[in-house]
């Protein structure tokens, strides 16, 4: 299972063995790491699973689709490396992925 590191806004780090096929959002929810609300359940409809992808992963992951890009414009404190974690798919190639969570989702 590829490792995923989630860093809460307060700096607390969680290293999680992530299941291939799940989204990063599901993995974070399953691990009960606070900071992701995921209200729409991964339908790319609410921007409450916003995260920042750390280098070098920001450029390694598949590009966001237009719907995700539009949602991201509406997230709080969007940055160039912003993603919706529901749209990040865990694969064997995401080993070592690191995401940071924003201060707030709403």
């Amino acid at each position: 299972m590829p490792a995923l590191t989630v860093i809460e806004f307060n700096g607390k780090e969680h290293r999680i063995d992530a299941e291939v096929g799940k989204s990063a959002m599901q993995v974070v929810i399953d691990a009960m790491v606070p900071g992701i609300m995921a209200d729409c359940g991964g339908a790319c409809s609410c921007a409450t699973c916003h995260c920042y992808v750390e280098a070098p992963w920001a450029t390694r992951l598949p590009e966001p689709v237009p719907a995700e890009r539009e949602m991201l414009e509406c997230a709080l404190d969007p940055q160039p490396n912003s993603r919706l974690s529901c749209q990040i798919r865990i694969t064997p190639h995401t080993e070592g992925l690191v995401i940071r969570l924003p201060q707030s989702q709403v």
Binding site: A31, D39, G41, A43
Partner: protein, 414 residues
């Protein structure tokens, strides 16, 4: 640990599951027991009429949380169990098998059940190819019948009916939608938006009929299958499968029988308290006092269920939290992402922004200069701004609102 510390959550939908987990996050010290009458782990409901119906989503991907998450949170799952009654005096619920469980605090998240179609009462409801759509089990039965080339009759042109029509059409079924009102989505949206959706569905090949009452069904000789839907205008629609989606009835039976205040929904305050201080309620089964609209409202909405559950969880752990979120909803049909915020009742003016023809527009429901509600189609950034417009009651200039050349953002700042 004594039963004085048991938090018992009845109903394992979005609200129940969130409430149980969040109560632990907020420091509930004792047992947390989550009771659901379905056998499956609590699951996301919106994909049922979309991705799960089409087969794109799997059982695993629709689960709200993994089993390990409940274990980690110390939430005991009692699935496939139905509560028969609540004895408030003894602080105890009894299951239909006679077993009883004491509680210190009880939370009701019983949701709702599909409104039943009167015309189906005489036999059609028991037919193998007649369905309502609310649960995973409903959709598993429906899926087996959604076969390329089959005929599907949908009774009801609300969100469920239209979402199913979109999925089934794409799967190659011949789809007829029968709506009793003179337009689809009549309860929730303006005529202009209704006609837009009617046009989209007709272009996709759906035989969409409005102003049509369903007054009966023909069954085969074995009375196992519906073969025709009979309409009040004399039309008979031959069909292989029927899905009725004509609304939701809040599940308030337990609460009402226990003597809680109920009025088309369990009445709760802004912190999700019922009329009994030991009992909370959240989600589709409740009616709450909305500070935003100044009246009691009942919402059939996932974001509402989650937010109410979070308020209940915080409050029952002694960290009182009021639910003052703005109602919002979404519906995905074909390539259209529709998102709605607010409630439009009482609006005196409708302002359109963008282009209906280009499938990218907003409809603002105004009362004077106040925005009561907004429907957006394929306009995500404006949806997010609209949430603020409605929630913060930001005044707008109706004339400028329609001007798509001035970004909505700038209009708010003005």
């Amino acid at each position: 640990m004594s039963h004085h510390e048991v938090l018992l959550v009845v109903g394992a939908g979005h609200a129940g599951a969130e409430l149980a987990i969040q109560a632990r996050e907020h420091g509930w010290p004792g047992r947390i027991v989550l009771v659901g009458d379905e056998p499956a782990l609590p699951y996301h409901r919106p994909p049922l009429s979309k991705g799960y119906l089409s087969g794109e989503a799997t059982l695993d991907s629709v689960a709200l949380k993994s089993r390990a998450t409940y274990d980690k949170a110390g939430v005991e799952l009692m699935l496939g169990r139905r509560v028969a009654s609540i004895d408030r005096h003894a602080a105890r619920v009894t299951f239909i098998d006679g077993q009883a469980l004491h509680y210190a605090t009880l939370a009701l998240a019983t949701g709702g059940r599909p409104r039943r179609l009167p015309a189906a009462a005489e036999g059609a409801e028991q037919a193998d190819n007649f369905h309502y759509l609310r649960t995973l089990a409903d959709v598993d039965r429906i899926r087996a019948r959604l076969v390329h080339g089959s005929r599907l009759a949908i009774v009801g042109g609300g969100y469920i009916g239209l979402e199913v029509a979109a999925v089934a059409t794409r799967m190659g079924l011949t789809v007829t939608v029968l709506e009793a009102a003179d337009r689809v989505l009549a309860r929730v949206t303006a005529p202009r938006v209704s006609s837009f959706y009617e046009q989209v569905h007709r272009q996709a090949g759906v035989d969409l009929r409005t102003g049509v009452q369903v007054d009966g069904f023909a069954l085969d000789t074995a009375r196992r299958l519906v073969t025709e839907v009979h309409c009040s205008d004399g039309e008979r629609v031959r069909t292989d499968v029927v899905i009725a989606g004509i609304g939701l009835v809040p599940d308030t039976d337990l609460a009402a029988a226990a003597g809680l205040d109920v009025e088309d929904g369990i009445l709760v305050d802004a912190c999700s308290r019922t009329s009994d201080p030991a009992i909370f309620a959240a989600g589709d089964c409740t009616r709450y006092e909305s500070p935003l609209y100044g009246r009691r409202i009942r919402l059939e909405s996932v974001p509402n269920a989650l937010e109410q559950a979070r308020c209940a969880a915080a409050t029952l752990c002694g960290k009182e939290r009021r639910h003052d979120g703005v109602p919002w909803f979404w519906s995905d049909q074909y390539d259209l992402k529709m998102k709605m915020v607010g409630l439009s009742q009482g609006h005196d003016r409708l302002v359109l922004r963008g282009s209906i023809e280009e499938r990218s527009f907003c409809a603002f429901y105004l009362q004077g200069s106040r925005v009561l509600a907004v429907d957006t189609v394929n306009r995500i950034p404006e949806f997010m701004l609209s949430k603020r417009l409605v929630a913060e009651r930001l005044p707008v200039d109706p004339e400028r609102l329609a001007d798509d050349s001035v970004p909505l953002k700038n209009q708010i700042a003005a």
